[in-house]
């Protein structure tokens, strides 16, 4: 079950919409945050609070890449490889993360410290290559800079 604070948060968000179904995307975000990923328990909780069938919730969630369906590392490295980043060397950075840090696209390090996801454009093309670590933007990436950034996340 979701804890009391999360239920309260969700009920407040629910008030922003004329019906409960519209609160499904934010509810999935809250459940993902609370359970770590969208586990069966997470769907159970969302379904119970919003009255949306679990199968529907799952069908919607799997359409969107930002919902996670397996346990993730404590920090998520989200590197963009779309055109503007690609032509400024993003693919070399993918290799670097793999070879130097054992970070494979779609994978999680064995110590659970990092997961890595390849992103489509994240709206930082003017300062490419770019990535998000959790909710933080990092731009004009180089191997050296990535080294520094990763050190900040435990």
């Amino acid at each position: 079950m979701l804890n009391e604070a999360a239920v309260k948060e969700l009920n407040e968000i629910r008030q922003k919409y004329p019906n409960a179904r519209a609160a499904l995307l934010p509810a999935l975000y809250i459940a993902q945050r609370e359970f770590g990923h969208l586990s069966p328990e997470a769907y159970e909780a969302v379904s119970e609070i919003l009255g949306v069938p679990k199968a529907i919730a799952r069908g919607v969630a799997t359409f969107y890449v930002m919902y996670k369906h397996k346990p993730m590392g404590r920090n998520i490295v989200q590197l963009c490889t779309n055109v503007s980043c690609m032509i400024l060397g993003a693919e070399k950075l993918v290799d670097f993360l793999k070879n130097k840090h054992g970070l494979e696209p779609g994978g999680t390090t064995s110590d659970g410290r990092f997961s890595m996801v390849i992103m489509e454009c994240i709206g930082a093309c003017g300062t490419a290559p770019a990535m998000l670590v959790n909710d933080d933007f990092y731009e004009n990436l180089t191997e050296k800079y990535i080294e520094e950034i990763l050190g900040k996340y435990k």
């Binding site: 499904l24 969107y64 490889t81 779309n82 055109v83 690609m86 400024l88 489509e120 093309c125 003017g126």
Partner: protein, 419 residues
């Protein structure tokens, strides 16, 4: 002309309501509320404002349809999905000038008779979400939003709805589906959102940049506004330039600025003085242009006459070091991934095109692959449910049209010389 959309953003506290007010903000909402809603729509019509989300649709026309529909309540949705690769123009407004957007939405909401608004914000902008939520709270506390705006009994409530990583949700009917808590798959039109939109009510969807023009239109009036930029496409425009230029970034310039000037004058030319190879002028899915075709005015009316589209104003500049087969492959890989799967030509076609491009790029292309790609894209064009599929076909067709020898070379030599 001073900056309108990027005004004051050098100020580190520009997102705060007091700084916005100090710079003249929230002085146009009271002026707008003195007018009749119809008069505001008339000003927007005189201004000649076109939507900045990609299609350049006349704003006043869309608003007139929605305001004429007798159903209530009406909704105003701000499209802040900004997913077209190469696009980062709405982000500075969202992060640095959120009150400009909020003031614009309050004015637009009043003009439309809309009582509820949502900002559909892409999930990849977590910082913008916090900034917008704080700004909305400030605007509510100051009486610029809520049940009784400026004591005039006018109601407009605004909330942020966070997307979850799906490019197709930028398409307005997919956006509506997603806001309703569903998969982001486009709806058939008609009915159009202006009549049957979100929650089956009349709905206007406009881009962040579009709505952020409203305070300025009220400030100087539609006639004066229409003198900025080109006659068919007035106003200031945000161009976001990335890739191999000396000074990439977001530039606010009059609509219709010549593409060559954007690259060579404003952005300082090609990085390291290297040679220009190609430009994608309006975001990854707009037609690519070779270097001899960049003397075109960057607006919605002129770009199609010059073989491309203004799209989101996202200029991607590529120098000679770039393999265009690879770029084309990367765009199709993106579109295959983002195809919502609703219609067959797009769902299957994007996959086939990506696969053929992949083998050509990898040195395993076969004779006839170029014609095969033209045939596949020809079978997609005009046969898909929404513009994503057409866009995919057009990307491939235009890369081949302008750079066919580079594709042929990959096949003939069975390798990519850029590796």
């Amino acid at each position: 002309m001073g900056k309108v959309l990027l005004k004051n953003i050098e100020n580190p506290d520009s997102a705060d309501i007091n700084e916005y007010k100090k710079a003249g903000g929230y002085s146009n909402l009271p002026k707008a509320l003195e007018k009749q809603p119809k008069e505001i729509i008339e000003e927007v019509k005189k201004a000649g404002l076109r939507g900045r989300g990609g299609a350049g649709f006349p704003v006043a026309m869309k608003w007139t349809f929605a305001s004429a529909d007798p159903k209530f309540p009406k909704y105003l949705l701000c499209n802040a999905d900004e997913g077209e690769p190469g696009t980062f123009k709405d982000r500075p407004i969202l992060e640095k000038n959120p009150h400009l957007l909020i003031e614009g939405m309050a004015i637009s909401g009043y003009a439309l008779g809309a009582e509820y608004g949502y900002i559909y914000l892409r999930g990849e902008y977590p910082e913008a979400k916090n900034i917008l939520n704080r700004a909305i709270k400030q605007a509510n506390d100051n009486g610029f939003l809520g049940d009784n705006i400026l004591g005039k009994g006018i109601k407009f409530h605004l909330a942020v709805h966070q997307g979850a990583g799906a490019y197709i949700c930028g398409e307005e009917t997919a956006l509506i589906e997603s806001l309703e808590g569903d998969k982001g798959q486009p709806r058939i039109k008609p009915p159009f959102p202006v009549n049957v939109g979100v929650f089956a009510k009349p709905t206007v969807v406009n881009n962040v940049e579009t709505l952020s023009n409203l305070p300025y239109i009220i400030e100087i009036g539609g006639d004066a506004y229409s003198k900025i930029g080109t006659p068919d496409c007035p106003g200031p425009k945000l161009y976001c330039v990335s890739g191999h230029v000396e000074k990439p970034g977001v530039y606010e310039l009059p609509m219709g600025t010549i593409l060559r000037d954007i690259i060579y004058t404003h952005c300082g030319g090609i990085k390291g003085g290297r040679k220009l190879k190609a430009v994608i002028p309006g975001g990854a899915t707009t037609p690519i242009l070779p270097p001899d075709k960049i003397d075109c005015p960057m607006d919605f009316v002129n770009m199609p006459k010059h073989g491309s589209m203004l799209g989101s104003g996202a200029v991607i500049v590529m120098d000679e070091s770039v393999c265009l087969v690879k770029v084309c492959y990367r765009i199709l890989k993106f579109l295959e991934h983002e195809s919502c799967g609703k219609c067959t030509p797009c769902r299957e076609g994007t996959g086939w095109l990506r696969s053929i491009l992949g083998r050509v790029e990898g040195g395993e292309g076969m004779e006839g692959d170029i014609d095969l790609m033209l045939s596949v894209s020809g079978n997609m064009m005009g046969k898909t449910f929404c513009p994503l599929g057409d866009g995919a076909a057009s990307v491939v067709q235009n890369f081949i049209k302008h750079f066919r020898p580079e594709f042929e070379e990959h096949i003939k030599n069975a390798k990519c010389r850029f590796k």
